[in-house]
């Protein structure tokens, strides 16, 4: 394995570079997954039937908390990757842990929000609107949940093996995934919540 020391560890071999590129291709497919969900949401947005509308069930406080938590977690994982490039494993581990805690906070608010919706009579089969709302939010929430466990395994592995081209590459790819979830959230925040409450 040829290691190029002029590049950051996560890019240092041909295989690493290709893995990162491959993950970008996967993110392209993820863009499409969420695009189809947004498409269906926009089509069913006003088909509320006998159920509540967005303006009736959306609340700004939990949504704002979720936004700030996820935005902050995207920042801390960025700092984690920066620390990794400086070779500071301890700082990197701290930033990654903070990221996951913020992610858990996000999930906490989202679960609270879902429970509130169900109590208010906005279940998965209430109307076209609630169905697509919960499917879109749920798909994003599942991604965050998956990301939490993925990130946890990354932390454990770096702890066990230290920073090698392999673990650095995995950490970097995980950071791409986490940032992408924040990008998706920006669109959910803007075009589902804020648009619905406007």
């Amino acid at each position: 394995m040829k290691i190029d020391h002029s590049l950051p560890l996560e890019y240092s071999t041909e295989e690493n570079r290709l893995k990162i590129f491959g993950f970008w291709i996967f993110l392209g497919a993820e863009i499409m997954l969420f695009a189809t969900l947004f498409t269906s949401y926009f089509v069913y947005e006003h088909r509320t039937g006998n159920g509540p509308s967005g303006a009736e069930i959306f609340e700004i406080t939990p949504v704002l908390m979720e936004t700030i938590l996820l935005l902050a977690s995207s920042f801390t994982i960025g700092l984690g990757i920066h620390a990794m490039r400086l070779g500071k494993q301890k700082a990197m581990m701290t930033f990654f842990s903070v990221t996951l805690v913020l992610g858990l906070g996000f999930l906490g608010f989202e679960i609270f929000e879902f429970v509130t919706y169900i109590h208010e009579g906005a279940g998965l089969s209430t109307s076209g609107f609630t169905s697509m709302l919960l499917t879109t939010l749920g798909t994003h929430g599942l991604h965050v949940t998956f990301g939490f466990f993925w990130g946890l395994s990354i932390i454990l592995q770096v702890k066990k093996r230290g920073l090698t081209p392999e673990t650095a590459n995995k950490s970097f790819i995980f950071s791409l995934y986490w940032h992408f979830l924040d990008v998706v959230w920006i669109f959910i925040f803007s075009f589902i919540y804020l648009k619905g409450m406007m």
Binding site: I68, A83, V183, F187
Partner: protein, 93 residues
């Protein structure tokens, strides 16, 4: 300690928070639907671009061209799918 907080990323985070605050104006101020959606489109896409460039290091390696082409193509297909569907099913054209 200071080296752990690169100015580029701190600025990126601050700018994201500002864009979020601007987007919130559509909730707190009374404005027309067109004005509101315009603000949201602008703030959302700038913020997404910020994540891509500042935090995801999209333009750092020799794969830059391929990475950006892939993202642009993804966004293009996403927009065509969303607006094409809206055109047929919602705007009745």
């Amino acid at each position: 300690m200071k080296e752990l907080f690169p100015i580029k990323q701190v600025m990126g985070f601050a700018f994201s928070l500002i864009l979020t605050a601007v987007a919130l104006l559509v909730y707190f101020l009374d404005m027309s639907f067109t004005a509101g959606i315009t603000i949201l489109l602008v703030t959302a896409f700038i913020q997404a671009g910020l994540q891509l460039v500042v935090f995801m290091h999209a333009g750092e390696t020799e794969d830059k061209g391929a990475i950006y082409s892939n993202v642009y193509f993804g966004i293009l297909v996403a927009l065509v799918t969303i607006f094409g569907t809206l055109l047929i099913f919602v705007w009745d054209m």
